[in-house]
Symmetry: C2
Subunit: 287 residues, 2 copies
């Protein structure tokens, strides 16, 4: 991997090493971007062509034996906009090269394995842009807040996650971890909007309010998880997400920076091009 | 399922029952569409909003226990444009609700099972728009042409496919099968274009010309397969595909007709909306 320019947005979003204080990170800012909402939307759309081109190169390199792939991990409280990122940012690239894995409450079979078992199964193959909508971090977030695992097991998991992600990086994964950071006030507005619109009732679950009441516990669980798993192989980004347009733009920019950094050249032909051109020109009539 | 209007395009593309003569079906036509290339591209883009809305309803219904899902099967000779359909047509909808499965040459494990084993594993779950890039039809197409299975086994497979697809339809699948129909002359141009452009060399394989030399055998295999598996539960459409814009538009229209025919209402709330609004308004401060 060569060094490459980091965009101002990515530079602001990259979480520094050390203890994390989420309350000190603004949720409604647009760090590293000087424009307004209209500019932000236009900037994201303008990225589409380069994103799609680089993703096709990643995909093409797979045919030449490359192990490279990208894994975008999306974590955040309910309504923080994981679905919006999928629609507006991931929707910019060719769906053929995308693999989205959504992690819900684990099934009985999944619970009977190590927490990373189902994660391993959801990993993108070489050449793909994989996206995790929730992830193995649920196993140190909701699992910690709700006591689904005991403290020693939670403690073990931070190290297991770092080892797992380091192995992925060694295998050719570029890992981009994003925490979609919203304020509790913003979540309240979004939940109220869902309740007010019959076309959005299906997105609402009464249990959402029970989770919301544990906001402070979740913040603490996030702060610990972010600090403990913020590695060079798989760094965390805290994405201010009260502004939906900035959230979508910022993650587009992180993807673009990552793909640019891979120096994705088109694979060279592993056959004799001129000979094939002659064969095609000289073929017997085909009908 | 209620009756619904079939668009002129779908009406033209629907393969009638009985023997199939592919040579009699034009590859460069745009049946059912009066406009030109620019009109066709604009018409497809204009479909995007309704397609995305209907797909979100399909997705939402899943949360209310619906088993409905859509399976688009794409078959065609090399260069017929399966990838282009994925990019330009499937790319119009939210990637979160899409599952694309590409079937390559079967692995050793896959070959040790019935031909439908890997197909079953690639099926979309309820609520999804699934797309098969190649499919179980390879097992009566290349398998027949290249003799990968003996004639009795090929014969058995037509019936097995019909039974399989009928079961899927009973389970809530809407199946749209499309044969992307190109002329051998058009394929020659597209192969030559790949050879002429170093950025497209990765798409070319010298084996492509060997398959191309069997064009007449493939046509015959397609004609038999189309006739034998053209059922009401899972009808075939032959999509003239020399014009890429018409191919993309036509498949968009088939998808739109199918989704419209499902009467996709938004699911009703299974909770007391007013009570939840009161809970949210009356909650203790969250921070």
């Amino acid at each position: 991997m060569t060094t490459h320019a980091i965009s101002p947005i990515a530079d602001h979003l990259r979480l520094p090493a050390g203890p994390v204080d989420l309350a000190a990170i603004e949720t409604d800012a647009a760090p590293g971007f000087a424009g307004d909402k209209a500019d932000g939307k236009a900037t994201l759309l303008a990225m589409g062509e380069e994103l799609a081109d680089l993703q096709e190169r990643l995909w093409a390199q797979r045919t030449a034996g490359s192990e490279r792939r990208v894994l975008l991990v999306l974590q955040g409280m309910d309504t923080s906009g994981k679905g919006g990122v999928l629609r507006h940012t991931i929707g910019l690239v060719d769906p053929q090269g995308v693999r989205i894995t959504s992690f819900k409450a684990p099934t009985e079979e999944e619970r009977s394995h190590d927490f990373l078992w189902r994660i391993e199964k959801g990993l993108p193959a070489a050449g793909y842009l994989g996206v995790f909508d929730r992830s193995h971090y649920e196993d140190v977030l909701i699992a910690r807040v709700r006591g689904f695992a005991d403290p020693e097991e939670i403690e073990r998991r931070y190290g297991a996650i770092n080892d797992f992600e380091a192995r992925l990086a060694d295998q050719g994964f570029s890992i981009i971890k994003c925490m979609l950071h919203i304020s509790p006030e913003e979540q309240k507005e979004r939940l109220a909007a869902r309740l007010a619109d019959p076309e959005k009732h299906w997105k609402y679950n009464p249990g959402d309010l029970d989770e919301r009441a544990r906001w402070a516990d979740y913040r603490e669980a996030y702060e610990i998880a972010l600090e403990r798993t913020n590695t060079d192989a798989a760094p965390w980004h805290v994405v201010p997400s009260d502004k939906k347009w900035f959230r979508n733009l910022a993650i587009g920019q992180l993807l673009l920076d990552t793909l640019r950094g891979l120096d994705l050249t088109w694979p060279e032909a592993d056959f004799d091009v001129a000979a094939e051109q002659e064969r095609l020109a000289a073929e017997a009539p085909v009908r």
